[in-house]
Amino acid sequence: MSRARLVWRKSLNAVMLTLTGVAAFGVVAVLFLILGYFIYNGGHSLNWQFFTQLPKPVGETGGGLANAIVGSLKLLLLAAVIGLPVGLLAGVYLAEFGGKTFAFIVRYTTDLLNGVPSIVIGIFAYSLVVAPVKHFSTLAGGAALGIMVIPITLRSTEEFLRSIPGSLREGAMALGASKWKTIATVVLPAASGGILTGMLLSLARVAGETAPLLFTALGNRFWSPGWSQPTAALPLMIYEYAISAYDDWHRQAWAAGLVLLSLVLLANLGCRLVLNRRGMARS
């Protein structure tokens, strides 16, 4: 083999390997750039007023997004109430009882539901909850988010239940416990840390969703009493303010974005750290 060819191969090697490293660190840098940019643009707008006041009428500066923060919390509460039990119990079914054909069908539809674009989930919740009563509501938004929570919760629940060693189940059953007692008093408590973390992760994911809320929760510039009125939500406010024409609204969009971004990243950071530590302890 000629010398020139060897030099060519070696330099190609060096160049390509360097490029892969640049790509990896470049993508990671994006995360820090995003975070830094939001802190730079939104940090100075975060004050007491922002968290405690209602939006001011168009044209006036100042005001806050208290109603959007409360609205988001209400929507998340509904999503948790609707989505978490279904995900949890269906996960128990797949890990502990599941037959062959039906378990396959459930798993397959779960994947399918997980892949449905969030805006289509919005249409679904609209035709299910909004269209019959003909007005937008917190309930409809919560239903949309709740449906999105189901597949994520189910997947993590099933995974954590499966990671519980069979000897634990056998031990409980050998002591005379029936199957459901074994599951309720031995298996579920053993997997509870992981399952709860998985639930928190799924809520963190839907907390930032905007598309399914557009025609369910709709948005609102005032407080939304009860559950049957349109409500504001943090991601909706960010969208509405970002596409508006007012500088003061842009400023608040950055601040709201910073709040949402920090909450979602912190929840993910915490959960993933916990999960990683458990993973290491297991192996």
Partner: protein, 327 residues
Amino acid sequence: MATSTPFEQTVPPQAGPRAFIQKLRRGDEIAHLITLVFAASIVLITSLLVYELWVNSHLSRAKFGWEFLWTQTWDPVFEQFGALPFIYGTLITSVVSLMIAVPLGLAAAIYLAELAPRKLSDSIAFLIDLLAAVPSVIYGLLGIFVIVPLMRTVIGPALKGAFGYLPIFKGPNYGVGFLTAGIVLAIMVVPFIISVSREVLLTVPREQREAALGMGATRWEATWQVVVPWARSGIAGSVFLALARALGETMAVTMVIGNDPKIRESLFAPGYTIAAVLANEFTEATGDVYLSALIELGLVLFLMTFILNGLARIMIVATERGGGRPS
């Protein structure tokens, strides 16, 4: 079933509700039944979703038939609706995003799986998972205030200077449009390509690399000619997953696409996607046919992502079961 014990079989079969009640007393059947109902509810919800999309798009399907898919008029006033500009916009923005995200994501995945020490690789993968968790409206905000101005002042003029003779880079540059949406989408899907491809690359057996290196291949040649081909169907699966996400992505695209239902060949031109038109017009849809046409667009989008997700899953499973081996 594993739950039926020999004891159960010795009990003579009793007729009527008494046997059922006796069974229920044991509790296992109740627990089984309850979890089964919840599992079945997922199948029910998903079927209901498809049913609602189908039934509520009835008016539009009846009026336009298959022509809905390839006509270009979108006129709410005269109730003439055709989906082609939206399908076109959805596909173009997704393809542009993949052309940027696939090389970048694959390169990063190669670095993480083949070169980086395990600890460094794990921490970078951790940060990339965090990046994947960033909500899409956040990317939309960055798109409007960072990427659109950059497009107008830096990226656009640079591309025009270098490739201005190509039809896809002709025409006025407004900042918003197909290319901008593609760039924003690329940033959003890159984390998915990286984390799935990295997992797939890590499943390639060590011997494959050692054999190539033993034959005198450089590190890059071993990676590019042996490891990547072995994992190719899994990598293709990760690309399909990313594509399915890009097709259905709403907020970030809506904020930078320009919202103009026209088919134009220039990537600088403003366009529209299915998800974006749903986001913008759904609450304002007056008239049943209009709403029905929008829901039919939702149905089209659902089917597109459904097919892609199915293909992606098959490909990832195929690689994990034994790579590019002919067997």
